[in-house]
Amino acid sequence: MTRYEEIFHGFLQHQQEQGQKLADDSDLLELFPLGKSPAQRYIARYSCRGLIRTTEGEVQEADRFEVGIYFDREYLRRAAPHVLTWLGPREVFHPNISDRAPVACIGAIRPANPLVDLLYRVWEVITYRKKTTNEFDALNAVACQYARNHASRFPIDPRPLKRQTRYIQAQVSDGSARP
């Protein structure tokens, strides 16, 4: 194993741990590592609400979206556009996600961009926390126009990706004492 392979192996291991931790702490994300561990390839399944457009042209909410993530051997040195693949649904309706090709744009992916960061950014896109309103950049121009006209509707899903823990201090009282 070369030194680079050792570093890359360590990187993949850390990403898998962190990604799994996020998925464990989330009600909206499931993460499936593929192949031998540490995984280079993942399928991330989101159950947050986003938008799709039916064949009749009606815009509806949906709650199942999937992306593929692939860290090729060069990922620490070069982030290629094939890091992220949109797996479905094909009828997704978002300015940053193509409804014709398995392509989604979540902004610049730098070399060694952490998995957790990618997972968050995809969630931000699906729930319309992030969207481009520039039709020239958009992968779906109709969705881009829709996003401009319905800004008050976003985010589609207000729930956070990571389950929030709240500590509530409670006191049991018999009701006789005055507060």
């Binding site: 030194r3 051997r73 040195r77 290629a80 556009p81 060694a112 481009t132 950049d137």
Partner: protein
């Protein structure tokens, strides 16, 4: 790709030969008696804006940079052999760049990264150059390959990688490099420094100990600095030489199955091309057309990645991209496929691995 050693010793490769620095360097090299063969690499054609900052004439506008430079070398030194490769360095089969020394005159980090990889793999010393127009800075950096020697990216940190040129799915997949904005004279200065050092190396006046350092000339404040580089133990470049064995077969004669059999030992066998994953599908974000193929990325030409419907550039699909081709993962008919159909060309270096380790081969 097999050149006699005496020719190889007198061969110089210029990466980015048509640019602000390269266009000057090529003419100096054409006049050197230590050089008898030049390999010029540049993917671009000259445009109107190049006239002000590069050593060319008005009639060269619209022509391929390497062809213009080749013609100029011939005019200066008709006996010099010139190989002109109109392609980005990442796409040139590495063995075609084999030479005594490589001069890099490029303005893209991505291209520098590739040059560094190839020079380490093939064990070729290289001299990088750069200019910074507003600061009036001209720089050359000398690197000698070796496991314990500093390479071109030993000094890089995450900021350098973060500013690497990138293809975005939402901008038609094109990479962008900002122009240096440097005047022709500054490019000429960097080129002169570069060629002077190359000449001294070819004449045997510079040895490996003279490499691993940089020379920065500040023309604004008239200062010169020459710091030395240090080997970074966590450098992201692979410093190991490839030591590729030359195969007698061409990519037309060898199938994937044959190539996998070259892996040492038993067990699961795999084949890969360094820094160039195999692409199994391309998709057009504009019209949705998709194309299935199986080629390594560096071999993709416009005829492969231009959309047949709308002529825009298609993007590789991640779920159909592989670092390595492993036996057992693909149907048998893929094993019968010739390496040329997988995009391997004469001069390409591929690696095969099995239980006995990794071995690299160069294609004839």
């Amino acid at each position: 790709m097999t050149l006699p050693p005496e020719v190889l010793r007198r061969t110089v490769t210029v990466l980015g030969s048509g640019g602000n620095v390269g266009s000057h360097a090529v003419k100096h090299l054409a006049r050197l008696q230590e050089v008898e063969r030049l390999v010029l690499v540049d993917p671009d054609t000259y445009s109107q804006k190049n006239l002000r900052v590069q050593d060319i004439e008005a009639r060269d506008v619209g022509r391929k940079k390497v062809e213009v430079q080749k013609r100029q070398v011939r005019r200066i030194n008709p006996s010099m052999e010139v190989v002109a490769l109109c392609a980005p360095v990442e796409q040139v089969p590495p063995a075609m760049l084999r030479s005594a020394v490589i001069l890099a005159c490029m303005d893209s980090r991505q291209a520098r990264l590739s040059a560094n990889r190839i020079t380490l793999g093939l064990r070729i010393p290289w001299i990088d150059s750069g200019v910074e127009g507003t600061g009036g800075l001209a720089r050359i950096s000398l690197y000698f390959p070796g496991l314990e020697r500093p390479c071109g990216i030993c000094a890089w940190d995450e900021r350098h990688f973060a500013t690497m040129e990138q293809r975005y799915p939402c901008s038609d997949g094109e990479e962008t490099t900002a122009p240096t904005g440097a005047p022709s004279s500054l490019g000429g200065l960097a080129a002169s420094l570069q060629v002077l050092h190359a000449q001294r190396y070819l004449a045997g006046e510079l040895g490996p100990e003279d490499f691993g350092r940089e020379m920065v000339l500040d023309t604004l404040y008239r200062r010169l600095s020459a710091p030395a580089f240090r080997r970074n133990p966590d450098c992201l470049a692979e410093h190991e030489a490839w030591d590729a064995q030359l195969l007698q077969q061409t990519p037309e004669e060898l199938t994937l199955g044959d190539a996998l059999q070259l892996a040492p030992g038993n067990g699961r066998r795999s084949l890969w091309v360094d820094a160039s994953p195999f692409i199994g599908e391309l998709a057009c974000r504009h019209c949705g057309t998709s194309r299935r193929l199986l080629r390594h990325e560096a071999s993709l030409l416009p005829r492969h990645d231009r959309c047949p419907s709308c002529r825009r550039r298609m993007l590789p699909v991640g779920s159909a991209t592989w670092d390595r081709l492993e036996d057992g993962e693909f149907p048998r008919r893929i094993l019968r496929r010739r390496l040329s159909r997988l995009g391997l060309r004469p001069g390409d270096v591929f690696a095969v691995a099995a239980s006995g380790g990794t071995r690299r081969y160069e294609l004839s």
